[in-house]
Subunit: 299 residues, 2 copies
């Protein structure tokens, strides 16, 4: 489950609700491309902006459209009680795993973060991936905290933020974290521009935003790294640098939103207000990049 | 409305719901003490953790218990549509003003923040206070953005984060912001330790966490500053430094939660999980500070 390419699709959303047809088609497309797992309702899937009912519905649609490919869904919320409710719905929907980021309004202490994972893991019957995403949660996990959480039942994976660009520093980063974790816990990288470096540094998985829309491209990079072809994985990543640059500058969500629209896979707007799409100059850059890299034409 | 002391009470909350009796008593106590306004459902009032129904109910209880003292309520939420719904409920409850912080999960651009205020102010029939709280929202307002928002209809006030400790720097901070705002827009300070400096530097209001539990003490400081007795306001603040130190270290919410419990004004736990109260060593320090400063005995 926590190996290889985990592709994170958008959940096209308007003020009227979720575009279920478009979402189902995005998930089916990923399953057909052969991704290893699907991460529905991740940050790119807009979990933080949806109601409990919408999240339960999207989890069911994802499992259905994934056609046997394992589905993981995000269960984060500001309150522990909300997380527990969403987790129950997700399990009823038949997901294979859950992904939990400690959302915050008031900042959380390490003991409060640990307490959240303790309460939630106790109630699970599927494995949990710890979602370490300081950019959206503003929680800064120490390796010691990762170690404490990884001892809890059902914790099977950690999704980490981008590793350093430098290869040696990336290896050191992954090794330092692994030293705090049981051997059974998978370590996966996010931040698409850091994927090749992360996989080459020994990460087990890539939790990929771009993979949610360009699965063939993301699979080529992943399979190269998995085969031990570090140079090949790096070459794939370097070719994609113009896309990574846009993602770093505007956020993966806005870039994927505009890209899905350009490719006819979602209508616009498809993000929940107050989020808006890419500004028009960035949109023009994106279209040039997609055409230049031939992204989307064969996924 | 946006002058003098605005006191922000806790909303005592458990996993079972809101302690309505305790909340009503906290608000009545503030009204009886003669605060200028009451800021219910602020960050200290836990607005971010409550459902729409709970927030509507708390707004009604606040207006009722305030007995004619103007009530402002927080209407922030992650989605514009949720903010609009909560604002409508608040106005039906009879509030005198609303307070809006741009909550975030994905970070927002300046245009997205502006768009949120534009959509919301259009629908209001009461004045709005812009809630600039980078510690919880991670939105960093520029003065230029404040200026753009202040031109919108119904924007009557800005609640700013702590001013610098240095008096000249504080005056400069307030003057720089005022230069971007229409004269009719009030500027108020938050961060209790910065209140005396902020009021002395020309802020119109103090949005006070400690004032939500110790209104007489907060009023003494406010009235001194309003009477032009800068040294007196500073002396009040310096006396309270041991309390400000705890608030800076643990956050106003956790400190007020423990203080309310110590004073018999709320039972514990009274914060929504995953938030937990003060650690026991900090709690012992707080009790010493409350007793030493004779805080709470006569409010």
């Amino acid at each position: 489950m926590f190996r290889g390419l985990s592709a994170f699709p958008l959940t096209p959303t308007t003020e009227e609700g979720i575009d279920e047809r478009a979402f189902g088609a995005l998930v089916s497309r990923l399953a057909a491309a052969g991704v290893d797992s699907i991460g529905a309702l991740g940050s790119t899937g807009g979990y933080a902006y949806l109601t409990r009912e919408q999240r339960a519905r999207v989890a069911r649609l994802a499992v259905e459209a994934a056609d046997g490919v394992p589905v993981m869904v995000g269960i984060g919320a500001l309150r522990t009680s909300q997380v527990l409710a969403v987790a129950e719905d997700a399990q009823k929907a038949g997901v294979s795993a859950v992904l939990l980021a400690p959302m915050t309004y008031q900042s959380l202490t390490d003991d409060e973060v640990f307490g959240l994972y303790e309460s939630v893991t106790r109630e699970l019957s599927v494995p949990l991936c710890v979602y370490d995403n300081p950019r959206t949660t503003h929680v800064h996990f120490t390796d010691e905290l990762h170690g404490r959480i990884a001892e809890l039942p059902n914790v099977a994976a950690v999704k980490i933020p981008p590793v350093p660009d430098d290869r040696a520093a990336a290896r050191q980063r992954v090794a330092a974290l692994r030293a705090q974790l049981p051997d059974t816990v998978s370590v996966g990288v996010s931040g698409d521009w850091a994927a090749a470096t992360g996989l080459n540094a020994g990460c087990d998985a890539w939790y990929s935003v771009a993979g949610g829309l360009f699965p063939a491209t993301a699979l080529a990079l992943t399979r190269a790294a998995q085969a031990g072809d570090a140079a090949g994985a790096t070459a794939h990543s370097e070719r994609l640098e113009p896309l990574w640059e846009l993602i770093r500058q505007y956020g993966g969500l806005r870039v994927m939103s505009a890209a899905a629209s350009h490719l006819g896979l979602a209508t616009e707007p498809n993000l929940p207000l107050p989020l808006r799409g890419l500004p028009s100059d960035a949109r023009r850059r994106l279209v040039t990049v997609l055409e230049h890299l031939a992204l989307g034409t064969s996924a």
